[in-house]
């Protein structure tokens, strides 16, 4: 049933894309279609392209990505829920020439970890944060997140998020961009190939910010959770486009001057 590789005279097949080396050679536990996999792949591609694999230490969160360190071929550590920016600070302060990044979900970063992320950004901690915003708590079974949309149904907002009782979603990129220590704070989405390509460029610039010692960098990535949103992966991608992008506008919220001129 599968189309075989073409074999024509005087032509050869040139490989134009293969799995990045910084990704470990192991299947992940993420649900089919979960954009965690896309984000992991983009980070690995950037690490490969910048030649940073042997200098990088990644910090895994508590959340679906709790085992993220198993999926990369660089050093990794496990943080307590929300504390990754503090752990990253501890590592970067003793090893300032290494590349230190955290990978955090919306509960980890914007709920229990709110204090740590704000202060890491305020200090201009020279770390990079990959912030996966899928408006829900995935690992624990679909509870409300600080980024859950008004009227969105979750297991702890079964009637839909009632803003009168449960408050409003938090726009982290806008907040963190107000801090002078932030060098690069942007929001992108992973809901289609064009946006995924833009997300990769942003991840590249975020790591460039760290390499150049410019300050705190963060890329917020609007992401899917097909399982807890109770949709197919493709439906979930469209849900991001139709519901999350209007609530969380894509764009550059803080870009240090040195990065603005950078072409990658």
């Amino acid at each position: 049933m599968t189309v075989a590789a073409p074999t024509k005279p005087k032509t050869t097949l040139k490989m134009v894309y293969q799995r990045p080396e910084a990704l470990a050679d192991t299947p992940t536990h993420y649900c089919p279609g979960c954009t965690h996999g896309v984000a992991h792949r983009l980070v690995a591609e950037v690490i490969d392209e910048m030649g940073l694999r042997e200098k990088t230490i990644g910090i895994a969160p508590v959340g679906c990505a709790v085992l993220a360190y198993d999926y990369f071929e660089f050093d990794g550590v496990e943080a307590a829920h929300g504390r990754a920016p503090a752990m990253a600070t501890g590592i970067k302060r003793v090893l300032p020439d290494r590349i230190v990044f955290t990978y955090q979900g919306d509960g980890d970063l914007a709920s229990i970890g709110m204090g740590e992320i704000v202060h890491a950004a305020a200090r201009g901690e020279r770390i990079t944060v990959i912030f996966i915003n899928n408006a829900i708590y995935g690992m624990t079974g679909g509870q409300m997140a600080p980024t859950t949309l008004p009227n969105q149904i979750t297991t702890s907002s079964p009637g839909g998020r009632d803003v009168a009782v449960q408050g409003f979603p938090i726009r982290m990129s806008e907040i963190l961009a107000t801090l002078d220590g932030a060098a690069y704070v942007v929001r992108r989405s992973m809901h289609d190939p064009a946006n995924i390509r833009k997300a990769k460029k942003a991840i590249r610039l975020a790591f460039e910010a760290q390499v150049r010692g410019l300050g705190f960098s963060l890329v917020e990535l609007l992401s899917t959770c097909p399982t807890n949103w109770k949709m197919t992966p493709a439906e979930a991608m469209n849900w991001v486009r139709d519901n999350m992008v209007p609530a969380y506008p894509l764009g550059d919220y803080k870009v240090a001057p040195e990065l603005q001129k950078l072409r990658v």
């Binding site: 360190y69 050093d75 990794g76 503090a86």
Partner: protein, 368 residues
Amino acid sequence: MTRQLLKGNVAMAEAAIRAGVEAYFGYPITPQSELLEWMAKRMPEEGRAFLQAESEVAAINMVYGAACTGARVMTSTSGPGISLMAEGISYIAGTEVPAVIVDVMRGGPGLGNIAPSQGDYRQVIHGAGHGDFFPLVLAPASVQEAVDLIGEAFDLAEKYRTIVFVVADGSIGQMMEPVSLPEPRPPRRERPDWAVGGAEGRPARRLTSLYLKPEVEEEVNLRLVQRWQAMEANEIRYREYYLDDAEYVVLGFGTAGRVALSAVRAARAEGIKVGLFRPVSLRPFPTEAIRDLAARSKAFLVVEMNGGQMLDDVQAAAQGQVPVRFYGRMGGMVPFPDEVLAEIHALVSEPPTPAEAPRARWLAQMVS
């Protein structure tokens, strides 16, 4: 060796620097803020990392991160901060990386006050955090002893890949005493073979406390117990004063032990055959030594600046061989030698019966 008059908090900080500490992350809290302030000034002078974190929660997680790189790292706080750090402490222990934590204890529970106490004994010997792990807990009774124990603490933390607490009540942190500081030891260059720091020319390493498979977690847990056995075999520390022919034994740690020593000396001058047993390692607890003492004593008097926390461990060690009395001051009150002397007199004039309940008698005295 030259001696300097130093405040306890400052002496402990300088001792850590001379022990080669590479990073300090902390948060202000009375009565230990001077330790943080000394680090703020001195660590940058030595080219080492200092950061005042946004909270004790953040501080302990910064310690956790730095510990994962194999760097010598510490924090300091008081009781409320230890409570906040409980989660991070458990993670550090579960990941089997070394760290030193100084607890300068104050009145509690809750916000309490800023006066000295020994109210965190039960908390720190259990490491404050969840799960089966075994910190080392050392309790100095003077500024010099605090300096000496800090110097050992880092080596012990690395030897056993565990947390070492140095617990002092607030008076030790605040008082000024003449101390001899040790010669400086430079921070080490080589990193342990478990440390993360960039997988240069080697496979990637991962450090975690997460072991989803129970059979794997059990292996880790058993390994921690094995290390605990080694600590119990090798790291018990205590001081004995006038115990060779003692009929009565006073037991106390830290400042309570030091105050009791004055009372013991006064009692000896009166001819009472009393001695002092002062645990220096609260964990591992000198159980055997106390059990042996119990077998040849008429009575024990436990003196603490809390409601009887070490008391329970003394009674367990004594195994009912000796009646035990208790004298404690709480809430930041510091006992005076004459109070302890009065208790020693009572041991002689109204000897305790085996069935006497130590806390009940003490409480009745205190609230009457």
